[in-house]
Symmetry: C2
Amino acid sequence: MLATMLYGPGDIRFEEHDDPVIAEPADAIVRVIASCVCGSDLWPYRGVTPTPRPRTIGHECLGEVVEVGSAVRGFRPGDRVIVPFDHCDGTCPHCLAGAQSGCVNLGFTTSGQAELARVNQADGSLVAIPDGVPEDLVPSLLTLSDVMPTGWHAAVSAGVAPGATAVVVGDGAVGLCGVIAARVLGAERIIALSRNPRRQELARAFGATDVLPERGREAVAAVLELTDGIGADATLECVGMEDSVETAFAVARPGSRVGMVGVPNGVTAFPIGSAFDRNVGFAGGMAPVRKYLPELLPLVLDRAIEPGRVFDGEFALADVADAYRVMNERTVVKAFLRP
Amino acid sequence: MLATMLYGPGDIRFEEHDDPVIAEPADAIVRVIASCVCGSDLWPYRGVTPTPRPRTIGHECLGEVVEVGSAVRGFRPGDRVIVPFDHCDGTCPHCLAGAQSGCVNLGFTTSGQAELARVNQADGSLVAIPDGVPEDLVPSLLTLSDVMPTGWHAAVSAGVAPGATAVVVGDGAVGLCGVIAARVLGAERIIALSRNPRRQELARAFGATDVLPERGREAVAAVLELTDGIGADATLECVGMEDSVETAFAVARPGSRVGMVGVPNGVTAFPIGSAFDRNVGFAGGMAPVRKYLPELLPLVLDRAIEPGRVFDGEFALADVADAYRVMNERTVVKAFLRP
């Protein structure tokens, strides 16, 4: 197959690679029908996380099943499916408790930006796309493999409830999906932190009632001013950097929670003392994507949410290196890839 | 009045000190009728936290109101009261949201181990002790000023629910009260970590179904073995040291929460990366004591819980230095002080 390969910092190539194969009876192979670049792909692209040897990359995709292992019961070749980036069996104690991202058989999509990808635990992970879905819904369906459920996980973990004031730290695709989630979960006031005009506009379109360009201490002061000194009922941390984590904890009102989905990168000075003093907790982590799809898929199919609007750049898979470049330069929010 | 004074590490004196006075209209002065030494008093006693100048000490007491400020409506001289260590107004947005320990008018008992103590925000903080309560209930009532609500806060913050497996890290008075709380909240299995025979016995008496003497990695392995590799549904962290926090996060199952009430002391290597990877959150902090008293006082009066059993040493207030010494040596769990 042709696949996107990461050779090292800034070195993305689209080239021949061995096809993935059924390695375990629960596996499936999908032909990728839509894919994209994730903000977290930029960590190895920038060299922040190492790439010891060339590897395939990409964990967000929609696919059509082309082959299934002998144990797979729920899917067969020809089925069009949403492929959660984290694969789970759906039957272990953690899955049954709703913590699918802690599945004892956890797996990941590792060649989502390629012609073919393997799915471990196909039955526990995949969700079928109904026949006859209009083509224009593909971008929103594609977000269901990662960013939309991840934003949703931030909002659920933060405890967004009807009438709440939610603060969303992070204006990437996940943060923007967090705005959507906060709105659907009933937040009355949604304060998004962003200083980028295009992202500010999307945040407003997705339901943000206030958009603040401030950062750090100025952002904290601005949120407190907007909330009569009280702070956020629920805070979504969608970045994972030291200053964003600090901002998130500082805007959270006493007794509230920060829903964290930004993968912690170099968060050394985690403000545990101040969190403790103010009874601000946290929850979150890698999103249990499969858990949320039964709720989120109907919202997309009914056009109640349009997370696909985060895609503002489209590239042929063969031009994937350009997609990485513009994502890295932040000139697009999120790059869509068509095979 | 006569008051316990801390002069510096290991230097406790019982001596004359100015009486506390009504400084604000919402204040009350109580005559202390029962008091005790808290594990957190040992931090300055040991010099772990500094004592720049001599000061009164003690934040846990029962009292009889002797004077009230002009704004106090709910109490008058002669009333016997439980004095939450953290005082709150009961009317600010944080109090109304159930985060009383984040009250905008937060105050603290600062001379609980003395003849007299001032209470800020008397109306919002104090809870009357009904007339005619038997004398033998005094120790359990005294625990309601701090350790019992703090153990309760750990269990509530950890999300202990009926049928849960709870792990309690810490066998001090707070941890032991956490065992009581986990039982009352319906935990089916309560695993307490303790290697001290007297504390093990109390943990069992309070409802622990399993008591493990292991620490650190061995404790984690033992908990996982007891729970079929799953871990705790709810974890109570009642110590606040780096190794205890690490143990608490490691025994927590994916998707669960650690309820933290041990004041973080030198927790530099907070395991946020591993917490994130496993979707283990935390909640907790300084307990909103007043919030829980309407639930806890009836349980004590009905003898449904007997947290007063944590007191295994009794001293005259004049001998308070001895009480600190035995607490510091861990030869008693908790020292009761009678004026």
